[in-house]
Symmetry: C2
């Protein structure tokens, strides 16, 4: 085996010469799926055939992802074989043709995904087959359970372990970074794991990473939680739901919604994290992930029922999803909003503060730290007193040291061409602009949104400011933003 230094992202690729004896005797060709064994460890990779001496005869080159997955060193001896057909894909086919998943079928699928046996197009077919509302309750329970089984599962020295999650779709809705320190300051155990962005310009882990390290292993999380009651870690680093982590890589570019996959993704991570009581924020709005109160109600019921079937208490909270929360959209820009609230700054975004307090109140009440109706006052008190800010700093220190979020080199304001009062905002296109600007991979990139609902806007007044780390990304985001009509809808006044 040899490392060839080609980064194919998550795809495992093996490179062999077309005139090599092994290719000839085994009948391997470009795009064959091959099994590469190094001792007991093996991967399934896609073969790329090379026509020049970049690779020697009897040598297999490995892409960066394949190299990492297989381990070892240049020159290690490997064995190459045809992989067995992926039997579990017949369950995916049956589902596509309209037959429901069985529990055994789902277990086998999830197991094969984690073993690296699914190609990208097979995962894309699976995701498509689960999209919309194609998974029923029984299937969703089976999928969630299967996802928990293939990953690690944490145990904590507490009877009550609380957690919160937002189903996303609302740019800037970074309440976790406020809820965790308040709840932890109140003495509840909240070992929060968050994901990186799936289809949004920033996930909570992306935002937190601009303030402190988030790639904690389980020992690291345990250390932080024992000391501070809470942490904000990246879930991917602890492999709580490795199947979900792999599916997300294909879900992201397809940008498809699925109630069943969403519930399985959220709850598998919460159950694996050892949570017993979970508050789930469901922002509802025409351009949020959940578009109507009816859809939110259906999703809420699904979450509660799947949670109950698998032994955790789930409390969904519907919130206003009509516009971005706070001002920043993108990892570092959102982190700045959070810091302003924790520090009780005069210009801190009140909408984000209010929303965090409402959700924190639910967590405190669900976790038994406040009577019904009393959670809000307790939460506000902890925030106003500075106790939450001290706790947040302590958590950051325990996670490896607090950081200052980066600032973008390139910025450009997008100006209003009309005057009027803001009556509607397209969250999805705002998120697209932030993504075109480079978020979340470029942590300082994104937008600062300056035209909330109800604001009176004059011609030439900035609706938003694009932040980017490269001029190319700034140009693309700007071209896209300036080509949109009704990104922000104005009513003449």
């Amino acid at each position: 085996m040899r490392r060839v230094g080609i980064d194919t992202y998550q795809e495992l690729v093996a490179y062999m010469r077309s005139d090599c004896d092994i290719c000839k005797s085994e009948g391997f060709e470009a795009h064959s799926r091959v099994e590469v064994w190094r001792g007991d460890r093996h991967i399934i990779a896609t073969l790329n055939v090379v026509h020049f001496p970049m690779i020697a005869m009897q040598e297999v080159g490995l892409s960066e992802a394949a190299w990492r997955a297989l381990g070892g060193a240049d020159g290690d001896l490997v064995r190459i074989a045809h992989p067995a057909p992926v039997q579990s894909f017949s369950s995916v086919r049956a589902k596509i043709y309209g037959r429901p998943f069985t529990s055994d079928g789902v277990n086998a699928i999830v197991h094969d995904i984690v073993a690296g046996r699914y190609s990208h197009i097979e995962m894309a077919a699976l995701i498509t087959a689960c999209s919309g509302s194609r998974l029923d309750l029984t299937e969703t329970i089976a999928l969630t359970d299967a996802m928990v089984k293939v990953g690690q599962r944490l145990q904590w020295d507490a009877d009550i372990v609380v957690d919160k999650h937002c189903v996303g779709g609302l740019p800037g809705n970074r309440t976790t970074l406020l809820i965790v320190p308040i709840v932890a300051a109140c003495g509840l155990t909240i070992p929060k794991t968050s994901s990186r962005a799936i289809t949004s310009p920033a996930g909570t882990a992306d935002t937190m990473e601009t303030l402190a390290p988030v790639a904690l292993d389980i020992a690291g999380m345990r250390h932080v939680v024992e000391r501070e009651n809470g942490c904000i870690a990246w879930g991917g680093a602890v492999s709580l739901s490795p199947a979900d982590d792999l599916l997300i890589r294909v879900e992201h570019p397809l940008d498809l919604d699925s109630d069943g996959l969403l519930v399985a993704s959220v709850l598998s991570k919460k159950i694996a994290a050892g949570s017993t009581h979970v508050v789930i924020d469901l922002p509802v709005g025409l351009t949020a992930k959940v578009r109507s109160p009816e859809a939110a109600q259906a999703l809420a019921e699904r979450l509660v029922k799947v949670g109950a079937a698998l032994g955790i208490a789930v409390k969904p909270v519907m919130t206003d999803g009509r516009q971005p929360i706070g001002r920043g959209i993108g990892p570092a820009l959102e982190a700045r909003d959070v810091l302003a609230i924790l520090q009780n700054a005069a210009d801190a975004p009140q909408d984000l503060r209010e929303r965090a307090l409402v959700l924190t109140a639910s967590v405190l009440e669900l976790g038994g730290k406040a009577e019904a109706g009393q959670g809000m006052a307790l939460a506000a008190n902890v925030l106003d007193s500075g106790a939450a800010w001290r706790k947040f700093q302590a958590i950051c220190e325990a996670q490896g040291g607090m950081r200052i979020p980066p600032q973008a080199t390139y910025t450009h304001p997008v100006l209003s061409l009309h005057r009027g009062r803001v009556v509607a905002i397209d969250n999805r296109r705002l998120a697209s602009i932030a993504k075109l600007a480079g978020a979340p991979k470029a942590p300082a990139a994104g937008i600062v949104f300056q035209a909330p609902l109800g604001m009176r806007v004059e011609v030439g007044q900035p609706l938003l400011t694009i932040h980017a780390e490269s001029p190319g990304e700034l140009a693309y985001a700007r071209a896209y933003a300036e080509a949109q009509e009704n990104l922000v809808s104005l009513l003449e006044v």
Copy 2:
């Protein structure tokens, strides 16, 4: 640009250095989609980032498929840009969520596929969304029409242009190579284009290619048809339905059935080929592509209605799909069966002969060369007299010269472990064995099937013989075949 000699099969891949100014300024990363322009010509490729000096700064390496698609020479100047988002994929999303395709939506999708704007996972999502019976009649008409519009469309100097097609799923069913010479000998125009294998061990084009060149361009086809009334060419070489050719590459590994995609695939090629009257063979059997008479009836109606909407007469013919036809399964092995029948050899497989005559009769009657009920006698006469064999040789010569099909180096008989009478055969698993043996890419590979329905089999008697071009493939096919139960079901006698 530089050719790097990496064969990624059909996927267009561009290689750039991670420390290159262009990657940095544009924010390109591993797996970014990039547009590469050479003058007016451009491709959309997936970026692989390299970490060593295989590629120079300011240089973009191209995979073999990307190199072919872009044309040009080493050192040509190219321009790299972010591609615009693929707008038409929102129509695919809408379909996945349950809203029917519109005609405009389907046209945009097909247009973008042919322009190379769809990634593999996007195509996989589209195929999944169209699988089973998820396309209704209106959508199927729109899709068929869209596929015709993006390709070439042939015109012939004849009022009646006949054609035939088999929906497949039945190993060895190679009637085309018999029907075309008989029909052409009767004076009807039959410019047959066939596909290579999609999910089967051999397509008609693969089988014909062992007997004569099939990669004819339109001028080549016209030349053959003007001289001999008929040809048997590979459809892919004339780009009659380029969207279908691209989708097939992703359909193949997924192995999903779709009535709508099947009808669009079949009829788009027939319409583009300039056919006016088409006979369609629908083999029905538990392990054939069409599993029940009800499914066949539904598919037949769909074919007739879509044909009528788009101006061609379609006559479906349901045939027995319970077992393989002839003895060979695999390109060269099937070609041998065809030759035996054309040459009126004593041991020629009678089932293949009978089936070809039935279908030929339908073509002759539909095309006006025989009264209803008289086609069979005419067809048999042309075959028995040697006129069909002479016509077949003439067609092969006109296509570039007749060839002798290759013979496999490695063979292995699979013996019966039981005795009894053959009562059922699993066509799908037989096809899998032939594919594991290397068919269709290895033309001599496949199986000779020796245990038809009704035969009495003794312990130790060969059920089939595997043919392979490499020992590795022989071993895999043999291991798979020997691990199967009830590949051939026996009833004790």
